[in-house]
Assembly symmetry: C2
Homo-oligomer: 337 residues x 2
């Protein structure tokens, strides 16, 4: 009898330990300060009767996308998309092949492409992202996503999301947070895959916004055409502006990785009560990339995690997530180490 | 024994009838074609396995506000707000009292006010709706809502919502529709009371949108200032444009009452599968107002339910709700008739 009891107790303990490991919603995170800050914040804001309790409808959490939820090197995925679309645009209008800036893009000369002027880039964006119906745009992006592959991992871009951030999105959703993407990328572009890739529906994607035009086809059926009219550049100060426009509430948690997210994190932190602001630091050259403060980039460089941003994070209590130290794995297809 | 059985059966029948009456989610609607169309549409789109089943996440229902969810006569509530704010603006800057267009507004001469030019109106809108932080704007609107009263019913504007439409909002929400307000009114204005008045959170209010500016106060705390920069006029073709911008999905149901809602209803109806488009007809002078086709207004008159809109409704299968015939009561404070 005694032996049976001991065995039974052992089995129960083993089962309990397994259950606990299985139910850790942040199992890809090492038990460091970043994970502890997340768990403490969620407990703090969801404990009924606590001083920092936040009603479910006000639990707004905003996430930058490129470099925060998925890989942004060597180029933003949307830039890869635009470059690939140029070929289709030129195929449809062959005369463009001899005209700049299309000629340069078609040459494939990366150095020359990188040197294109802002008006030239605008011409390319207008030609590839506007002029079609919103439905045609959606199917063009879907087609590309199905065939395009990241040059390093040779996988679809939508597989290159960070597993720990996916866990964080799910953990917050389970705790009745409303998670939003707030991206400098095109709002309509990200909406095409946000539900399938992140479980975030299109209405919870805030991005750089363009206008549309209402019209009718030959059969009298109404449709919207994407116009080359910028409504909001959802970067830098545009992020809190976009949040106000699209959500109308100040978030309680914000996650970014570059100077483009600075104002969004400031704005989030400036609200009353418990607030969580975090920055992903790319310091893992082996498993992903190392850039920003990890590489000692000059403070003036924009669009990345600069030393100045690192200093501001220290001063304002934003928590820096070290990919190298805080994440047991980067991608879902990778083994934990 | 037999008597007891008869009595028991009678009691049970009475209880059942009471229960049914209590649980009819559209009890303020008469059992006419409008109510039947709503119930049939909801059954059709929510029946698993049915040909017209719509997954919950795609059940987007959009509602115009003024004249559709609440009273819009004799003036839009927001116009009343703006006129009342002029007094505060002039009190803060007394020199304005002698300048047009403020002088005319302060005179209280309704005829003269109605004749103000568009640039004059824009000056008034800029002075009353912009230049303050988004938080200050919110408290100004809240203060006004608490004190202002409709001239006819002598009640706060937020009590002048239509009881049958409130039931419809609740009925759709119970059936896992996401209800949105899509209004020509100011997005930030309607957001102030949308949750308390309609149970619709601020992020589900689409309206006429203005830009904001990001800045810092003396203590370095960031805030957003409302700017006199129009991003989208959410009327007419602006409604489907606003829906695409803010929601990113085509609605399956749309409700309006004027030519400003025409394109929203067309756009909704043009999607595949079951779609519901309805227009509220103001034909009840006694209990509310009678205007539009009920008064034989000319077809060229904009912003109201014109005879041309009535014709389009007949042709395209939009259902006209007669306030007089379809609604057992108009307001929650009123007895059913």
């Amino acid at each position: 009898m005694k032996l049976i009891r001991v065995v039974a107790a052992g089995v129960l303990l083993a089962l309990a330990a397994t259950a606990q490991a299985q139910t850790d919603p942040l199992s890809s995170w090492n038990d460091g300060p970043a994970k502890q800050a997340i768990v403490a914040f969620v407990k703090d804001t969801t404990t009924q009767g606590g001083a920092n309790f936040v009603p479910a409808e006000e639990r707004i959490a905003v996430f930058d996308q490129d470099g925060t939820l998925w890989v942004e090197q060597p180029m933003y995925s949307q830039v890869m998309y635009v470059l690939s679309r140029v070929a289709d645009v030129v195929a449809a209008k062959p005369a463009l092949a001899k005209q700049e800036p299309f000629k340069t893009v078609m040459s494939g000369n990366r150095e020359a492409i990188a040197k294109l002027s802002m008006p030239d880039l605008e011409k390319i964006l207008a030609a590839t992202l506007t002029g079609m119906s919103v439905e045609d745009f959606e199917s063009q992006v879907k087609d590309w996503l199905e065939s395009a592959k990241d040059p390093r991992w040779q996988r679809p871009y939508t597989e290159l999301t960070y597993a720990p951030m996916q866990e964080l999105l799910a953990y917050l959703a389970e705790n009745h947070f409303q998670t939003y993407i707030v991206t400098g990328g095109g709002q309509d572009f990200v909406r095409v895959y946000s539900q399938a890739t992140y479980g975030i529906p299109p209405e919870r994607v805030v991005g750089t916004m363009g206008g549309t035009k209402y019209g009718y086809d030959a059969a009298g059926k109404p449709f919207l055409t994407k116009e080359p009219k910028l409504l909001l550049n959802d970067n830098d100060a545009g992020k809190p502006q976009g949040i106000h426009l699209m959500i109308g509430r100040r978030p309680v948690a914000a996650f970014g990785n570059s100077t483009g997210d600075r104002q969004m994190l400031e704005y989030t932190k400036a609200g009353g009560g418990a607030r969580l602001a975090m920055l992903v630091l790319h310091d893992d050259k082996e498993r992903e990339y190392a850039y920003g403060p990890a590489q000692g980039l000059p403070a003036t460089k924009v669009g990345v995690f600069t030393p100045a941003l690192y200093d501001q994070a220290q001063k304002q209590g934003w928590i820096v997530i070290s990919m190298k130290n805080d994440w047991r794995k980067i991608f879902s297809f990778e083994e934990e180490r």
